[in-house]
Symmetry: C2
Subunit: 458 residues, 2 copies
């Protein structure tokens, strides 16, 4: 990427209805409002901050289940509020949409646990209410504890989850794209015809995992199919993203980790008849910014004092499936002597400094804020340099911005970084009108003909 | 009821996210805004009108499926927009809650199609966001077309649906009342303890219909269990209401139909160790009011001109399971010669005038507005007399008010009837503070010890 004019940076706020998302312990900071995640006002105010900063969207994480790996029980996650409790993000959207005009919503919903006809109805309902501002972050669910809440012993095995997901997508595409033809709803007062029955089709699906004989219960919304997000980084997850996703969420500690993932998914898209450049990539990032570098560093140090080591290890344990309560905090970690999942996590954390030997305590200090993504600390100019460097070097389109403390991290970004990016011509100065898909692609409000959903159209 | 002071009338607006709820054809009226059911602004404005009128709540109907009895296909329902399309009511609530402070929300959700752990999470999420203003209208779902959208051939048989519902209630009660002890969430900045794990309990349920081993994913909301509404009028439905419901929604054309149902459910409550007087009954009602009787009658006649006969028969067909497209419009209906479901509907419609022989066309003219409930037409004084007469003669506590056209029917009620009821001391002049349960019962925010949910408390 060597354009004279930098490409436009895309921004989502990455958050969740939970007391601790990716920065364990920071809920104790006096200015942090994480604990207000149950309050409507917290979310409407956040939405307004983001829209003031022309953010493309808010990306709402979710997961059904509780992290019970650390110490072999949910105790540590509960004690630290580490992604538990977690509330349903779909239910926040209409209020946030009411107080904004242009902000998009990336909403995580777990397909393994939701009947396709009801999930399709939910997203169509919201796409109508928001006038086309919703995206669905497609996840398959990985917590066994979630499966047990649904009466199953364990989650379906990883690769089979993606087989289920493929069939699920066919079903929701049929409901969204095929069931109601364009123009089926007349709402014509003179003739008294609300909808034309001959333009509404019953979908008949009898597959390996699902059966359905039904019309879609809701007529087409502005986007029909919500904008499709996906976040799987595994081999199977990447292929799924290459086929289905319009926006891909990636997370890693360094450009060296992220760049090949982006290149790989973009390249794979071609195999599905899609253009890899039609996908937007968002990488996980946390920014701590002040008026000067010194002010930002001081803020970072202040935040660091609130990091909870056990809370961080609880998240690590959940991500790797390895119980980190069994490892001493101060012993060096020798990759060959630990679980491969742990070795791989440590390798990904340490890729910038490959020779280094780490203790758990050092890993916590390095990754206690913002989870598996990097933390940029600096002046507005330094942050803008860093972000533009990431885009140039990894070919991502933008960032899912996590927070150290909320909403301060977002307020700071809007106050300090947004104007700097605008000065460089790398960030919009006004929203493009239209649906989230129109904003993201510059194309129409519907999925393009190259997308696999298009074959369901009559 | 011969108190000198009339008891306080309770009011809900009864509506649904659909172009035609109970008054088919009236979406064609130039002032009607039903067609805006997909728009957020329609709903936030309605919420504000209702709160201005001190309504206790908005009662949001729903049903998974489509009425395909009339003519044996969904065509007629689609053509007339007769309760199809229908959008998910849960997703409206946060926006309506954002623009109001006190209005309650009765939200219909079908337990047959929702995993208990996810439904429980949804209601807890909303009860937090609304600060305790949500109620759940428990329905089991009766459309075979809904079952087919979920991959089942038909709905479970009626009485077994209630067996399923009993087990379902045990499960959600355990999640809401037992999983998190009071005080489990500390959120204590000094100790760094967010929640106390020893006060959070895994629910183990292995029943005939459901299995679950999980904590509730969300900590207790203001009401824990949402206020429980129920609307079943069958023998089994009434027993379920007598056991579980805090508010019961009934519908019938006359006091003679409603009074014995109210008496029966209140009496049955005693068998479950509850006080029948602790339940609030809302009966379906449509009010057409003007400054004078003449103005109201003129309005009624104007509305009547928009009634769609085929739309009305489509609803009749769905309610009775009988295809009314097979009956001539102008032949007298002889109860002995029609299906028992039809005979029983006609009997219930004509109970005020038992000797009368009806044609379908006459039934449509009589019941084209407001569905199976009566329509009161008159001056503010006349309407108030009628409403108070209903309360005195049937022992209901208030009304689920349907609309002829929306939001005009609600605006008219707020402008003309509310002041008249207040003048008579039969309607509040300010909201009682607190949760929906506190407002309705005058008691605490939690279910009382006499309720079956209470035995799940540790």
């Amino acid at each position: 990427m060597n354009n004279a004019m930098p490409r436009e940076i895309r921004l989502n706020a990455f958050t969740s209805q939970t007391p601790v998302h990716l920065s364990p312990g920071l809920w104790r900071h006096p200015r942090d409002q994480s604990r207000n995640f149950k309050s409507l006002r917290y979310w409407t105010e956040l939405a307004q901050i983001l829209e003031e900063g022309l953010f493309d969207g808010v990306f709402l994480a979710d997961g059904i289940g509780i992290n019970d790996v650390h110490g072999g029980s949910p105790d540590s996650a509960l004690r630290h509020g580490a992604q538990v409790p977690k509330h349903d993000p779909l239910l926040l959207v209409s209020a946030m949409a009411h107080v904004t005009q242009q902000l998009g919503f990336g909403i995580t919903a777990t397909l393994s646990f939701e009947p396709p006809s009801l999930l399709a109805r939910r997203f169509t309902t919201l796409d109508h209410l928001t006038k086309g501002r919703v995206g669905w972050n497609i996840v398959t669910g990985y917590y066994d504890s979630g499966a047990k809440a649904l009466g199953r012993a364990t989650v379906t095995a990883h690769d089979e989850r993606y087989e289920v997901a493929e069939e699920y997508m066919d079903l929701v595409y049929a409901l969204w794209e095929q069931s109601w033809e364009e123009g089926a709803v007349l709402g014509d007062r003179a003739s008294g015809i609300y909808a034309q029955p001959e333009k509404v089709h019953t979908i008949h699906h009898h597959g390996k995992y699902f059966d359905l004989d039904s019309i879609h219960f809701t007529p087409p919304s502005p986007q029909r199919t919500p904008l499709l997000y996906q976040a799987g980084a595994s081999r199977r997850g990447r292929a799924f993203a290459a086929k289905h996703a319009e926006a891909v969420f990636v997370a890693g500690p360094s450009k060296r980790v992220i760049a090949p993932i982006v290149a790989d998914v973009r390249a794979q898209a071609e195999q599905f008849g899609r253009n890899g450049r039609d996908m937007l990539f968002f990488t996980l990032m946390t920014v701590i910014v002040g008026e000067t570098e010194a002010a930002a560093r001081a803020k970072h140090e202040e935040y660091q004092r609130y990091v909870s080591p056990e809370g961080v290890l609880t998240l690590f344990s959940g991500w790797t499936g390895t119980d980190f309560s069994r490892y001493p905090l101060d012993a060096p970690i020798v990759p060959a002597e630990v679980d491969s999942a742990v070795a791989s996590m440590i390798e990904s954390f340490t890729v910038a400094d490959p020779g280094r030997v780490w203790t758990l305590r050092e890993l916590i200090a390095h990754n206690g804020i913002g989870g598996r993504g990097p933390v940029i600390v600096g002046s507005p100019e330094q942050v803008a340099d860093e972000l533009l460097g990431w885009i140039a070097d990894t070919d991502v389109d933008g960032f899912n911005l996590s927070y150290a403390i909320t909403p301060e991290s977002y307020r700071d970004f809007v106050e300090f970084v947004v104007p700097e990016l605008q000065k460089r011509g790398a960030y919009k100065t006004a929203y493009v009108r239209g649906t989230l898909r129109e904003k993201f692609t510059g194309g129409g409000r519907l999925l393009p003909p190259s997308h696999p959903a298009a074959r369901f159209r009559s």
